[in-house]
């Protein structure tokens, strides 16, 4: 019988939630790594028992944890993230040149085929890869050494590489996104990178159509159509039908097109989910109503999903890595809030319930579909 396992990273530890395929009763284990910030917990698609977690602290720096038994036990692995060569500089908030400095790992993306290979997106923005289960890390420095690198600058949350998408068809192609540099694609396994920001318009930067400088919050792809990408930008929900070569806006009738998360239904590539947030000045849902919006047409026409979600006095945020979908027969959708709730829908968003609440602020949510 199929089941689901939800991996939750929070400001004060990690939690693992498990349920059978009905997804009505959930067991909660944790906190793992109590008191540490867990930016991301990710599972290998090639071995469901292999998990990786990014554990960090303002006091003690970065630790990477690995589990070989589905999260029952963990062990620290390598945490040495050294930029390749002379790191150089990027732009600082005041426009001055600032040296690249490693701060933390925001996102871990295990290989689609090899449990020992995993990618790490870090702050200050760079992409690292381990091929030995996280023991050793090497930078794919072609990204950071792209000619635009000295012009990249941090968003308010730091200059983080937060999205890594591996193309399931073309193993040499992957996508990454950086706040606030934009999106990039490699077609040669990470040696060289192309900015893919054409069509993005960001009114908050000097040239709204610039090659780089866009604050991309998240990108999602359906594995059956790897050339179709959906993006939640700082403002604007965007879509590309040609692997990021050109984007067009699909915000349509959303109440606000600011937000952080975006994801795609596991079985319907044109069904997309976002969670609108009022504005970059007020990081909470419009009108105090927590609403997921679903488009069944690949964008532009959106419906509010509210059943089971608080519709008054709700002022939480949902951060960029805090939405996920499972691939059970009726697609499950999950998201976590800065108020410590994890909401789940076992009917593709029609209805929701909190499967755990009162956790520390949720930073990330991933889900595994287990057979």
């Amino acid at each position: 019988m199929s089941s689901a396992r939800v991996l939750v990273g929070t400001r004060k530890g990690a939690f693992v939630l498990t349920s059978d395929g009905k997804r009505k009763k959930w067991d909660v284990s944790g906190p793992h790594f109590a008191g540490w910030e867990i930016y991301h917990v990710a599972a290998s698609p090639a071995d469901p028992d292999r998990l990786y977690a990014s554990q960090s602290s303002g006091w003690f720096g970065q630790v990477i944890q690995r589990s070989n038994d589905g999260g029952k036990s963990w062990a620290p692995v390598g945490n040495k993230f050294t930029y390749d060569g002379v790191p150089g500089t990027h732009q600082w908030y005041d426009g001055t040149a600032h040296p690249w400095e490693f701060k933390r790992v925001w996102h871990l993306e295990p290989s689609l085929t090899d449990p020992d290979t995993v990618y790490a997106g870090v702050e200050d923005a760079a992409l690292f890869r381990s091929s030995d289960g996280g023991q050793n890390w090497e930078e794919l420095s072609g990204l950071r050494q792209h000619g635009s690198g000295p012009r990249w600058q941090p968003g308010a949350g730091g200059m983080c590489l937060h999205t890594i998408i591996l193309d399931p068809v073309n193993p040499n192609r992957m996508y990454i996104a950086i706040s606030a540099a934009g999106a990039f694609r490699t077609d040669d396994g990470g040696k060289s990178w192309l900015p893919i920001n054409q069509g993005l318009k960001s009114q908050y930067i000097p040239d709204p159509n610039a090659e780089v400088g866009h604050c991309v919050h998240k990108i999602a792809m359906h594995p059956s159509r790897p050339d179709v990408l959906f993006m939640q930008k700082h403002w604007d929900v965007m879509r590309s039908d040609n692997a990021g070569d050109l984007w067009h806006e699909v915000s349509g009738n959303l109440p606000t097109d600011f937000g952080f998360v975006v994801d795609v239904h596991a079985h319907e590539p044109e069904t997309v989910y976002v969670l609108p947030i009022k504005s970059d000045s007020e990081h909470y849902p419009p009108d105090g109503k927590l609403r997921v919006y679903r488009s069944r047409s690949g964008g532009n026409e959106w419906e509010a999903l509210t059943k089971g979600l608080p519709q008054e006095n709700c002022y939480v945020n949902v951060l960029r890595d805090a939405m996920a979908v499972d691939s059970l027969d009726t697609c499950g959708v999950y998201f976590g809030t800065t108020g410590g709730q994890v909401y789940a829908s076992s009917d593709a968003g029609d209805s929701w319930e909190a499967i755990v609440r009162d956790l520390p602020a949720v930073l990330s949510v991933e889900v595994q579909t287990l057979s």
Binding site: G58, W59, F60, G61, Q62, V63
Partner: protein
């Protein structure tokens, strides 16, 4: 043996309780003690001093014999009482944050 007191989170990470006791060959300096600590507990690498620069992390302090040794050179000889194990070297996390 040199005694080292770790902050709570590093005791958890290293899976040790109370003090750590270390054999340090040669003169007992902060660098030598940290080298011995990281050799015995590799999971602590990078958590007390930066892996690349070897600089002490900003929110950690080294105390011993009621003195703050944090700003001493890393090759300064630690007090005799620390070298003899009479007093511990305390690695202390800043009382800050939420």
């Amino acid at each position: 043996m040199i005694r080292v007191v770790l902050p709570h989170h590093l005791r958890t990470l290293a899976q040790v309780g109370g003090e750590v006791q270390l054999q340090v060959d040669g003169e007992a300096t902060p660098r030598a003690v940290l080298d011995a600590l990281e050799a015995r507990y590799p999971m602590l690498r990078g958590t007390i001093r930066d892996q690349v620069t070897q600089q002490r992390r900003a929110f950690l302090r080294f105390f011993a014999c009621q003195e703050d040794l944090s700003h001493e050179p890393v090759d300064v000889v630690l007090p005799r009482a620390v070298a003899s194990g009479e007093e511990p070297l305390m690695i202390v996390g800043a009382i800050a944050g939420g």
